[in-house]
Amino acid sequence: MAATVIMGSAVFAALMVLVFALLTLRRWQSERRIKRNGGELIAATRAYLARIHEQPVDRLAAAIAEPIRLDAVLNLSRLLRGSERDKLIGLAVEDGLFDLALRDLASGRERQRIQAVALLEQFDNPKCIHALSVTLASDPVYQLRLAAAFALARFGQLPPPRDLISLLSLRTSENHRVQIALFRSLAPHAARSLRELARDPQFTAVRAALIDALGWTGEAACLDEISEAARDPDPDVRCAALRAAGQLGHQQAAPWVIALLDDSDDNVRIQALKCAARLALAQALPQIEALAASPSSWIRWRAEEALAALRPARWEQRS
């Protein structure tokens, strides 16, 4: 036994020292490379800037290694905006800088797919978006599908709501924040679908998130579904209706928002207070004043906030 312990400890220690030595060496080489390639990184950056502005490029820049060019593109993509950025990413695609990541998305190794998504999600280019869409549709790992969905949401490129619900099994998910964030991202482009789904009894499980998203469509026509949701027996749906009405900022919602100030559910009353403040409903002042004396601390606090917004008082008077 003693021999096994001695041998085991020695082998383990030797192995770890070797691994650490190799990692330190790798870091040292990387530092040297950075020093040496500093010039190359600058050259690659200049070459991309020149190409963006259709100016002549130094021939030597074409020989710069792919990782350095990718670094240059990553750095520049954080600095450039609009058409210059689009052109830069187009050039990177043309140079095949994303090819490795695109191939890795099909890899059987989860780690490689994670790294590929992390790279591609930085570029709102059709090729990257397509690859992320494929990941969302077919990757076996839920967390990776979700990561792809978040990236597509950021670019405003999520699939239609019905597909998204199915791909991410949102009807069985209990994560309302994720549902809401994704539906809100869809809202500006998918108002009609969201309205249909909000009326469809098959989608009751995600109704609160769908109603909330209607507020982000910017379409006053959605107020029909929103005001209907304000009478829903589920308090989460009523809260969502209030958030949506506050976001739309339409005074047409005033009657039912004021009515919900007397709702039986504390959370609904809190949302109603927030909504009344956002919509600047001065006619709600008497009810809000009454809520400022509520036995619930949370309601009193939100009522005081609403009063402060509706009837700006001297700061010192607020507690």
Partner: protein, 477 residues
């Protein structure tokens, strides 16, 4: 004087038996570390880091990001409090309030806050009274609407944190030390698991690093460095081992028992439900998490406690032996107090893996481990001199104690390099690597004798005093 042969034989057997017990305990501790290392490697390999897209969406839909009350208990912090509060107010987060609790400071901490931030007395309702001492006043500022200062009689950190929790209005509370340096986006990264959660998550711990040797400007970290002194440098290795290996693994296995007092994010309702921090222990951070586990499991409610290995916070480590002794003795005493208080959980299947695995491992780590290792060092030469210990057994013990321990530390450094890469240069890696070897020759043993045993002694004597840890302060470039 010669002993009768049968007494001599019995004494020899006792020494040998004791030595073997120590050997087995030290071996078990190292095997547990090895398993934790493997789990941590696996966890790192398969985890999806919070991506810029996630953070972008939570920023865009700011009302979906759960608001946070950051609670900073402060005692005699007049020199650094203004900078610290400015850094806390500047954290990148959609909605957060900062509650500074002046815990009866004897210096001008309160006056500094009032002057620097234009604080004025206000009436603010305390939603839950968890503290034992009196609240002397609350102050707010028209210039900084998300800052609240609570002035109270001196208690201890637990009491000050409880007072702050009572005033917190946000659904999440982040309890920190007043001198903790939180990374600009640290709060967002720590709160992100709550956004992705379905309501079962009750707390999140984050990795903490040592700020000694770093440049700190305006309460924020300007440059990462490695401490010059060996005592803080050894602690860098220890922190990496604790946070990147043990806590990542324990969280991955659903048995995280400790969220450091320097930075912890909790669901406010859960903390209030269990009554906040306990005042009668010096290990209130460990005790709170154990109590949360206990409460949730007794109520048979689904819950989990997470840990994010990315660095969220930097803290100053004691640079002198005296400060180190006070800190470590306190940790040791706190662990023992928690174990005794929650002894009914130990080995109890009612508490699932917390009772059956995590608590026994805490005993191995904090009750049996330190004295066993120390006793092993003492018994080894005695047993050898008596001729009752085979040389290969002695070498095996030394291998387990020194070689294996060093290998675990170096493996953690490798983990850091492959996954986080926050060590600035290859040269700094070598410095930490050498510290990982050198700590085995004196530092670890000193830690056992002067720190752990002092903690055990204080626990046995039932001491309740809080030993201060002197700080040297941060350096500017």
């Amino acid at each position: 004087m010669t002993l009768p042969p049968h007494v001599e034989a019995a004494a020899g057997t006792a020494v040998l038996g004791l030595f073997w017990a120590c050997f087995v305990i030290v071996l078990l501790r190292n095997l547990v570390s090895l398993i934790q290392l493997g789990v941590a490697f696996w966890d790192f390999a398969t985890r999806i880091k919070p991506s810029p897209s996630n953070l972008f969406l939570w920023q865009r839909y700011a009302d979906l990001a759960l608001p946070v009350s950051v609670i900073a208990p402060a005692f005699n912090e007049e020199l650094s409090i203004a900078q610290s509060v400015r850094a806390l107010l500047a954290l990148e987060y959609p909605e957060h309030e900062v509650i500074v609790v002046n815990d009866g400071s004897k210096d001008d901490t309160l006056a500094t806050l009032i002057a620097e931030f234009g604080m004025q007395p206000v009436r603010r309702e305390q939603l839950a009274v968890l503290q034992k001492t009196a609240i002397l006043g609350t102050y707010a500022s028209p210039r900084y609407p998300n800052l609240l200062v609570v002035d109270k009689e001196n208690g201890r950190k637990a009491d000050a944190a409880n007072a702050g929790i009572g005033f917190a209005r946000m659904p999440l509370i982040c309890v920190i030390d007043a001198d903790s340096i939180i990374e600009r986006d640290g709060l967002m990264r720590a709160a992100e698991p709550f956004m992705m959660d379905n309501g079962e998550l009750v707390a999140v711990g984050g990795a903490i690093r040592i700020a000694n040797g770093c440049d700190v400007v305006g309460g924020t970290l300007a440059r990462i460095g490695i401490p010059r002194g060996f005592i803080p440098r050894f602690q860098v290795v220890e922190y990496l081992r604790a946070f990147l290996m043990a806590r990542v693994a324990n969280a991955g296995l659903g048995m995280l028992l400790l969220i450091s007092g320097a930075f912890g994010l909790f669901r406010r309702s859960a903390v209030i439900e269990v009554g906040g921090y306990r005042h009668d222990t010096v290990g209130e951070d460990l005790e709170l998490v154990v109590r949360l586990h206990r409460h949730m499991r007794e109520q048979q409610r689904p819950y989990h406690i997470a840990f994010i290995p990315e660095v969220v916070c930097w803290t100053e480590a004691p640079a002198e032996l005296k400060g180190l002794r006070n800190q470590r003795a306190r940790w040791q005493q706190g662990a023992l107090e928690t174990l005794v208080r929650h002894r009914s959980m130990i080995g109890n299947p009612r508490y699932g893996r917390i009772g059956v695995l995590a608590m026994p491992l805490l005993i191995l780590e904090d009750v049996l481990g330190p004295p066993a290792e120390l006793l092993g060092y003492l018994l080894l030469p005695i047993a050898w001199a008596l001729g009752i210990l085979a040389p290969d057994i002695a070498i095996a013990f030394l291998c387990v104690a020194f070689l294996f321990g060093t290998a675990i530390s170096i493996a953690t450094l490798a983990l850091e390099e492959t996954q986080l890469r926050r060590t600035p240069t290859a040269r700094d890696m070598l410095r930490l690597g050498s510290a990982a070897v050198l700590e085995n020759f004196g530092y670890r043993q000193a830690n056992l004798v002067f720190c752990r045993l002092v903690g055990i002694k204080r626990f046995l004597k039932g001491e309740t005093a809080w030993s201060a840890v002197p700080r040297a302060g941060f350096t500017a470039p």
